[in-house]
């Protein structure tokens, strides 16, 4: 097994374990910090995929800005720990059955239908930089880019309007 595969397996284990930790921790601050760990490992996956710009954007935007916003709101509201929820009587058997079905389907796909053996194209250093992304964004994808900027503006106005003091 090559070093790359080993790195992938370890990172995948950390990513899934931290996702499960986010899911299972009752304390909302711990959940947010587990998600930060998950985002950091996903950034390393992007580096493995020759996409350094996306990796850095992942670190700064996701693990930086978005998670700080989350932690700020969690601590502002002071609702870190909630009591456990009441469980419906038929909920657990049904969930078990459906999860079993999904698992069977995935195992079938993974072990009996796996034909996706693509060879990795040659390294693409000149294309993987931020320059190429910027060129693509400002030429071929100019309209989606502008729509995204309007979306951000609308989100900003919406956030300010929603949290304004009531009169």
């Amino acid at each position: 097994m090559s070093l790359e595969l080993l790195l992938f397996l370890i990172l995948a284990l950390i990513a899934i374990a931290s996702a499960l930790g986010m899911l299972l921790s009752r304390h909302a601050v711990y959940a947010a910090l587990f998600l930060v760990l998950n985002f950091a490992t996903v950034a390393v996956f992007y580096l493995l995929l020759n996409a350094p710009f996306i990796a850095m954007a992942q670190i700064t935007v996701y693990a930086g800005a978005i998670m700080v916003l989350f932690l700020f709101v969690i601590m502002l509201l002071g609702t870190e720990v909630l009591p456990p929820s009441p469980v419906l009587p038929w909920q657990r058997p049904l969930a078990f059955l459906l999860a079993l079905g999904l698992l069977a389907e995935s195992v079938y796909l993974l072990f009996f239908r796996q034909r996706l053996t693509l060879s990795l194209p040659a390294t693409i250093d000149p294309f993987s930089g931020p320059k190429a992304i910027g060129q693509a964004l400002f030429t071929g994808y100019l309209l989606p880019f502008e729509i995204t900027s309007i979306l951000l503006l609308v989100a900003m106005v919406g956030a300010i309007l929603l949290t304004r003091k009531e009169r």
């Binding site: 996409a51 993974l110 994808y141 951000l152």
Partner: protein
Amino acid sequence: MIPLSWYLWLSAALFSVGLFGVLARRNAIAILLAIELMLNAVNINLVAFWRYLTPGQMNGQVFAVIVLAVAAAEVAVGLALVISVYRRRQTVVADELDLLKW
């Protein structure tokens, strides 16, 4: 060399965990966290397909950047909604916000 399907499996696993979080958690902020996880899994898919299928064009990475921006906008509005709801109802438990249910 890592097969493409490994990335797809990883992203599917993360997406499933996020989906379970959205469906099962009661804290509205935890639901938003799980949505972030799902968006992230989609981004892994996009970048992996870009790397293995069309590394010469930048389409996959451009999509990933746009998903990133949309995620940031979604979080800002979602957390504003949570704060606004908390001001009126003094709760962030999603089960109790059933004003529009019936």
